[in-house]
Assembly symmetry: C2
Homo-oligomer: 319 residues x 2
């Protein structure tokens, strides 16, 4: 398949996604393919219940991003958001550290009611996607609950949002568990989308808490291979440090080097192409030794134009 | 007991309450007694589930009124309210005619979660009351669901909010049913509060959908009598018409005269004193024939000062 830097009308792409990093990456991908040919398979291990509402942070970030209504400066939630309900919830609850906006709440209320009525997360996600008029497919990785638990020195085992948002990712990470992963299956549509992909992309997301949970679901790695599609992963580190988030602390806490090649090693046997920032060019050799082709370019995605250049560069390498 | 028009430090008062009419009346009562000596027993037959959230319109109107944060011009909800979440819910739901404000939503979210966790409506109401720092007691009439169903010509049987808000109370009322009334018991505290009352007051509320449901609960009438307390009811009609709401249509639809004495007849054997507006003075004789003392005064409660004058007048009559 010939891939151009303009729109590729027939290119079918699956993206394994976390939240913020994937959102930035997707803004670069969207102009390059038909909306209906995009499937985003989204991490659900940081889903959490707040005030009895089922919140799926990564699913919502991806939905709002594809709909063009995400708040870009914050990286989560909706643009032009207000927080009146959350402030009022503070009258009833001590913990209002998870910032749920008024408009965003509508999504959680809808999802919660639909799940209570017996719909699956896949079905609800489809309804939300359609409510936003999206033609792309957004799939939760699984309809079974899988939850990231972070063991932090001196703090015990924390739910992911407790660790990331409430504790602001402080403390030494000792281990990361995926509660429920043993019983979880890929959600309907996940394996088929992967098998039918022309290209599979892994954005600069946190491997431990966003991408590897998807890859650990039974059949996902096999489906990636069966697709015959080239698989490209983008390092979430630039100059050896994450743009945002606690990946450096997770890597070191779990005994890895804090480097792009250490991330590449986590995708060994999965990714064919591994994208490094120019500042990490010296790691290209280490990436090669892992059996992947290194692609050295600018990976900072702080503008849609940069994101588009990066994704176009990746697609042209895969052609 | 001597009752003065100033604050009565020992007077224990129970009020049977619906929503808007009771709220206006309570604004007149509050300055006349110690907050802790007030118990409001609140109708729950117009409770409804919206978007999976348990909404108790009358309980909230009373709570917000006692807290001084109710929106007085609308008669429901909170002052300085916004509706961003509701507008966003319109993306997912067709029916967003029930106006839930952003700050108000916090109450429904909290109540819903607490009920799902197994708390009773009494317990949740107590927690909400305390969250607002109130010292008065607000009690739901029952912890069992009782729901008003209105049979309307050409429209079938409607849930109360469907009839009142969605259809704006149009159509001829054929009957009013209280689904669940046969299995409902008074909520904990209701009978005791009534028995310990020095005065029991029935505000100018709709008898069919606010007051009679409370009086129909087993033991409520007996507790009123056991209290030995004088019971005063205020006519919700002025000049033969309701200030707001469909009471006239309900009275005529159910075969009653549309008059204050027809309302008084509904409280026969309960109320000792029945308060009529000056414009309905000619009905005093009919009220007397029902075995009640008529009190003729100004019953329009459109300002807190007028409400206070009315309540003080009633209390002085009961002394």
């Amino acid at each position: 398949m010939v891939i151009s830097r303009a729109k590729n009308p027939k290119l079918r792409v699956s993206v394994l996604a976390g939240g913020v990093g994937a959102a930035r990456f997707l803004r670069g991908l969207l102009p390059l393919l038909e909306e209906k040919n995009l499937t985003v398979i989204v991490n659900t291990t940081d889903d959490e219940s707040f005030f009895g509402l089922h919140v799926s942070p990564d699913l919502d970030t991806i939905t709002y991003t594809l709909a063009g209504v995400a708040n870009r400066s914050r990286g989560w939630g909706l643009e032009k958001e207000t927080f009146h309900a959350l402030k009022a919830l503070g009258r009833y609850y001590e913990d209002t550290w998870f910032q749920l906006g008024d408009r965003d709440l509508a999504t959680h209320i809808f999802r919660t009611e639909a799940l209570r009525k017996g719909k699956t997360l896949t079905q609800v996600t489809g309804e939300i996607t359609r409510a936003f008029g999206l033609q792309s497919t957004i799939l939760p990785m699984s309809n079974q609950p899988v939850r990231t638990r972070i063991r932090v020195a001196g703090a015990g085992t924390l739910a992911f949002q407790d660790y990331l948002v409430k504790r602001r990712a402080t403390g030494q990470v000792q281990s990361i568990q995926l509660a429920g992963i043993g019983k979880a299956k890929p959600a309907p549509g996940v394996l088929r989308a992967l098998r039918q992909s022309d290209v599979i992309l892994i954005p600069p997301s946190n491997p431990f808490v966003s991408i590897l949970p998807i890859l650990r679901l039974p059949g996902v790695r096999a489906a990636c291979q069966q697709s015959g599609a080239p698989i490209a992963a983008v390092s979430p580190l630039i100059g050896g440090a994450p743009i945002k988030g606690p990946l450096d602390r997770m890597l070191s806490g779990l005994g890895h080097e804090v480097s792009s090649s250490a991330v590449a090693a986590l995708y060994r046997g999965i990714a064919n192409l591994f994208v490094l920032d120019r500042r990490d060019a010296t790691e290209a050799e280490a990436v090669k030794r892992l059996g992947m082709s290194p692609l050295i370019t600018n990976t900072l995605l702080n503008t849609p134009a940069r994101a588009r250049r990066l994704v176009a560069h990746i697609l042209s390498e895969l052609a």
